[in-house]
Symmetry: C7
Subunit: 94 residues, 7 copies
């Protein structure tokens, strides 16, 4: 996918709930208000956001935890993606 | 169209959902809460917005992804346009 | 009309929807949520607004696009005027 | 009346809707959501308001336009007054 | 009363609506949304409030006008008091 | 109790409404919207809170007045405590 | 668990309400609006959050009190965790 997020935005790709991370982390896909795990597929350049300097801490390939309902979802070639602000990402799961 | 957006505003022209971008990006036109793709047709000069310096990162011709319902829509000669703040633009699609 | 807007305020005069701008820009008068076109008739001096320095970018005679429902309407000698903050103005139409 | 507004506050006295300003400005008294005209009768000293330096631009005797429902009304000896922040004043009418 | 308001807070004591100030200022006690007059009985030291330096402009004995419903009311020995931020005080009545 | 409030937080212990302060201050326990009196039992270190430097002005043993419904209540060994931000404290009662 | 909170975020593990802290602190698990106790299991690096420098004051192993309903809950291998901002933590219990 050739998408360049602006500023502090990050594109993530849904991680199947069957898929375990190295730490054995599983989130039931039916958990409505629970944070979501996803794999980072594109990262904005950071820079000045709302007059404040933002450094990007996540990188492509990171599996991250983010609050469900943050960001906007879209589809490319049948795959579901979400575009988030980095500040919506809670943690990196290793 | 001869419209000069002020400050950090950007005018975009709706991209038909039948139209594929280079990356094969398609958004079903019926997807109500999904981000929209559009082509930039006019870009404001940037400058000080709410006391913060804004540099314009998008340029005329860019295909961008923006959150539906941001901005204001208007029509010129039957074509639909939307005027957005640059910060409402999520990503550039290539 | 002898009205001096304070700070970053601008007085605009409703442009009839029958009236075309140079760019052929027309807004149906019934379009409720659409931006409005209007002609600038008075411009405040700018200066410090909410602790931030504001420079006025519009001038008397400009035809501008602004989000409907921003500003306050009033009447003088039967003509309808609207008083806006400059930041409510989306673009200059030429 | 011996009332000293604090900071950026201004006391205005209702202008009768029958009374014309020099510019022929009339506001029907029944216009509920329209801006109000009033004569300034007391002006605060300005100074630091919410951490920002405010200079007073209106003076006693000015006829001003302000958004209805801003400020607080009170009565002295049967006359109605309103106390506003200067930022609620839209324009000076001459 | 031995009460020391913190920061920019001020304790005021209800002025009987029968009581006239020097300027003949009267507020009917039934006026629900009108500003209230009250006598200042304790004044905080000012200082840094929300990161901004606040200087106290009112002093004990001042009769002040404040917007009803601002502040918190309490009783000591049957008398009613209100504790306000100085910024809730509209004017000093003399 | 061995509880260390973080930043600008303060732990207070409910003062029985039967208990008089030195100034004869009494608050009927049924007064729902009235400020509450309480004795300070733990004080945070202050420091940078929301990017602003906060100095603690209250100390253990102070009887304070705070707006009801601010803070969070908890129980230890049957006693009721409330944890507040210092900015929720209106005054020190002596 | 191998989870790295970003910025000022902290992962905490629910403390059983049967479990007493050293200070004898107990929170009935049915108390809906009461603060929660939990043990810190991961701490973000702090740094610039919303343009303000944040220093982490809690460390792994601390038992903390936080306002219920702050943060996001998730499960790993059947254990329940919550991810919070440090500013949602009210106090350290010892």
């Amino acid at each position: 996918m050739n998408i360049k997020p602006l500023f502090d935005r990050v594109v993530v790709e849904s991680v199947q709930s069957e898929e375990k991370t190295k730490s054995g982390f599983i989130l039931p896909s039916s958990a409505q208000e629970k944070p979501q795990t996803a794999r980072v597929v594109a990262v904005g350049p950071g820079g000045v956001v709302d007059g404040k300097d933002v450094t990007m801490e996540v990188k492509i390939g990171d599996v991250v935890l983010y609050a469900k309902y943050s960001g906007s979802e879209f589809k490319v070639d049948g795959k579901e993606f979400t575009i988030l602000r980095q500040s919506d990402i809670l943690a990196i799961v290793e």
